[in-house]
């Protein structure tokens, strides 16, 4: 097994400007600098404050449902005939995905900052639902920006947010998807930051978002290590796998293993319909260095620097850029990136449903797809840890539609 050179603790933190090597930073209009600087200061103050940590941990335990189980997927392991597969069950969290870790953390932070209004962007709706939930819990107003195209695709989540008291604001600009919703949330924030906090949903965006969102998700990897020690006899898996849209669930899992050189870290992007332009969201194979939403990172763009369309069967991975720390860690040889196509993800969805009785989110199904490729090649005493970042209830309609179009359940998976 390939061994990494572990990063020093210092190299894992961004510099003062929020840069990881040459990635990240704060590429924002001057009108956004005041709220961003205010947020950086507030976060640096609160992340060390014991009362804040205690309040967050209390809610994570009693409201959100942490720690989440680590589960040995025995039948899936048997089926694949190789390494033992362990699932980190973030899908069992309140609201159905890891997103709540960050949403609750940020809304709590906003409340401490004296903000009375929360805004957020959402693609599939998971981050929007998580943020609306946290805002309802803490009694803050909430507006969630969502592309009109995504609102059509995710009608149920729109209604869920409305039930939670949030206003869902349709975005009809551009491609009417996640990236346009982020644009619109920034536009709102420029004019509203005196009383409003913007809860960005992943490890992208300008400083301090990447490091702040990562911190709220670190609990995933930290718990998994403790649980693996008990369950598998070793805290360190041979391979840790997570899907990567913006990259928050992956960063949460991987952050616990960056100083463990013998753990191979694998991020799985959306391969969509294939490698053609506009057909996927695989930034590490199809992207080039660019600057989007405040960070220098890999971006799917044309030669003139215009951001191009993306496609994935899973809305949560359907984003043209990726968290800057992922690009840095990839460059440092710390994380490997691969991709799974729509078809492979759907097959992963069916496989986990049938063997374990667990419907994974289509995002997480991309990680399962990678496991199905990797586990059979490994010895039975090896351990693969997978972040099951969300549950698939929200995707049943999409899978039904996909299977209908391709003619067979699982598109002939089994």
């Amino acid at each position: 097994m390939k061994v990494r050179t572990p990063l020093s603790a210092a190299a894992m933190e961004p510099d003062e400007g929020g840069r990881y090597g040459v990635y990240g930073g704060r590429y924002a209009p001057e009108t956004l600098m005041a709220p961003l600087e205010e947020l950086s200061r507030a976060w640096d103050r609160l992340r060390r404050k014991r009362t804040f940590q205690r309040r967050l941990n209390h809610l994570l335990e009693h409201y959100v449902g942490r720690p989440t189980p680590l589960y040995f997927a025995e039948r899936l392991t048997e089926h694949l005939g190789g390494a033992r597969v362990y699932l980190k069950r973030e899908d069992l969290l309140h609201t159905g995905a890891h997103k709540i870790n960050n949403a609750l953390g940020q809304v709590l932070l906003a409340k401490e900052m004296g903000k009375t209004r929360i805004i957020a962007e959402t693609g599939a709706g998971q981050h929007g639902v998580a943020t609306a939930t946290a805002a309802a819990l803490l009694g803050l107003d909430c507006v969630v920006y969502m592309g009109e195209e995504d609102m059509r695709r995710q009608r149920l989540n729109v209604y869920r947010m409305q039930l939670l008291g949030a206003e869902v604001a349709p975005v009809d600009a551009g491609s009417q998807t996640l990236k346009d919703a982020i644009n619109e949330a920034f536009r709102d924030w420029v004019a509203s930051f005196a009383d409003t906090h913007y809860v960005l949903g992943t490890v992208t965006g300008p400083e301090p978002y990447p490091r702040m969102v990562r911190q709220f998700h670190r609990v995933i990897g930290a718990e998994a290590r403790r649980q693996l020690r008990r369950l598998a006899g070793t805290p360190d898996p041979d391979v840790a796998v997570a899907c990567v849209g913006g990259g928050s669930n992956a960063m949460g899992l991987f952050s616990a293993f960056l100083d463990r050189p013998d753990v191979l870290l694998v991020g799985v992007e959306a391969g969509g319909r294939g490698p053609g332009p506009g057909d996927h969201a695989a930034r590490f194979s199809g992207g080039t260095l660019g600057v989007l939403h405040g960070a220098r990172t890999l971006v799917l763009q044309d030669e003139e620097g215009q951001v191009v369309g993306t496609h994935s069967v899973s809305a949560g991975l359907d984003y043209p850029a990726v968290g800057p720390e992922h690009v840095f860690l990839h460059e440092q040889g710390q994380i490997e990136f691969t991709s799974a196509t729509d078809q492979e993800a759907i097959e992963g969805f069916h496989l986990l449903s049938a063997t374990e009785g667990i419907l994974p989110a289509l995002e997480s199904a991309h990680a399962i797809a990678e496991v199905t490729r990797r586990a059979p090649e490994m010895e039975p005493d090896r351990v693969i840890l997978v972040n099951l970042s969300g549950r698939g209830d929200k995707d049943v309609e999409s899978v039904l539609e996909y299977d209908g179009a391709s003619g067979a359940p699982g598109g002939g998976a089994e």
Binding site: P29, D180, R296, Q301, V307
Partner: protein
């Protein structure tokens, strides 16, 4: 430093502001998105801006994700991209028409198109095309001083930075020290777009900035009527009007006399600036 100062005083942008100062009036700085409604129409529209009384032109480079812009300029960018506009096309327009137009041109762009080209290649092409200044909306001096400014400076192209109502004194000083030609003060903590009223504290805010900045201060965001131009001109060295003109282009895109209508509107807007 002395070389820089010397070049500053020589730049066409500086000269334009000096000319206006001598006549005791503010500079008028109209904004259009290059390629809106078409690349072919743009040169005529630029001529109309000059004929209407533009002292400096802000030429917008369309970008797929314009987070600092309100709906009007978003739609303008969208039309321009659909019509095939790009940074390459904009540089081509400047190259062919800058001399004939006779007024300085500031590219108003997001950073990604510049970054995609490579800052050195961009700086060289901008200078060769006759671009006088560059304002990257999402490249504050924190990043711009390291990344883009050295290349522009070497080629004699001015860097213009934004100052916002919410900018701290430290940030105002940083933007002022980094800019050449002029600084751009955003009259509103908001995205671009027309507004019925100026904010009541604008005059005081602009004076606050002017006290700290030696360069001319241009004010934009939310200015759309002759009356507003007149108000802002009382306190600012330059007045920027964007969305109102982009909307005029939008509403008259199909009219054969679009350029004449634009010229007329610019004439109305510059009227308060004439003696």
């Amino acid at each position: 430093m002395s070389a820089r100062r010397k070049r500053r005083s020589n730049s066409a942008i500086t000269a334009a502001f000096s000319r206006c100062a001598k006549r005791k009036r503010s500079a008028f700085i109209p904004f259009l998105v290059a390629g809106d409604p078409s690349l072919e129409a743009t040169p005529d529209l630029l001529r109309a801006l000059v004929a209407g009384g533009a002292d400096v032109i802000e030429l917008g480079v369309a970008f797929s994700d314009p987070i600092a812009d309100g709906p009007t300029i978003q739609r303008g960018s969208h039309r321009a991209l659909a019509a095939g506009s790009s940074l390459s096309a904009v540089l081509g327009i400047v190259e062919r028409h800058r001399e004939e137009l006779g007024v300085p041109i500031v590219l108003f762009t997001y950073y990604n198109p510049v970054h995609a080209r490579g800052v050195d290649a961009f700086a060289a092409q901008a200078a060769d095309s006759g671009v006088d200044g560059v304002l990257c909306v999402d490249l504050p001096p924190d990043e711009g001083l390291r990344e883009l400014q050295p290349a522009l400076e070497q080629r004699g192209v001015d860097s213009i930075y934004l100052i916002a109502a919410t900018s701290t004194r430290e940030r105002i000083d940083r933007a002022a020290a980094a800019s050449n030609g002029f600084v751009y003060y955003t009259a509103r903590s908001d995205v671009t777009g027309e507004r019925e009223d100026l904010i009541p504290t604008l005059a005081r805010e602009v004076k606050r900035v002017r006290r700290r900045v030696r360069l001319p201060v241009a004010v934009g965001f939310g200015i759309s009527t002759p009356r507003q131009v007149e108000e802002v001109a009382k306190v600012a060295h330059g007045v920027v009007v964007g969305s109102a003109l982009v909307r005029l282009v939008e509403e008259n895109a199909a009219q054969p006399d679009l350029a004449a209508r634009l010229e007329r509107r610019v004439g109305e807007l510059t009227e308060p600036l004439r003696d």
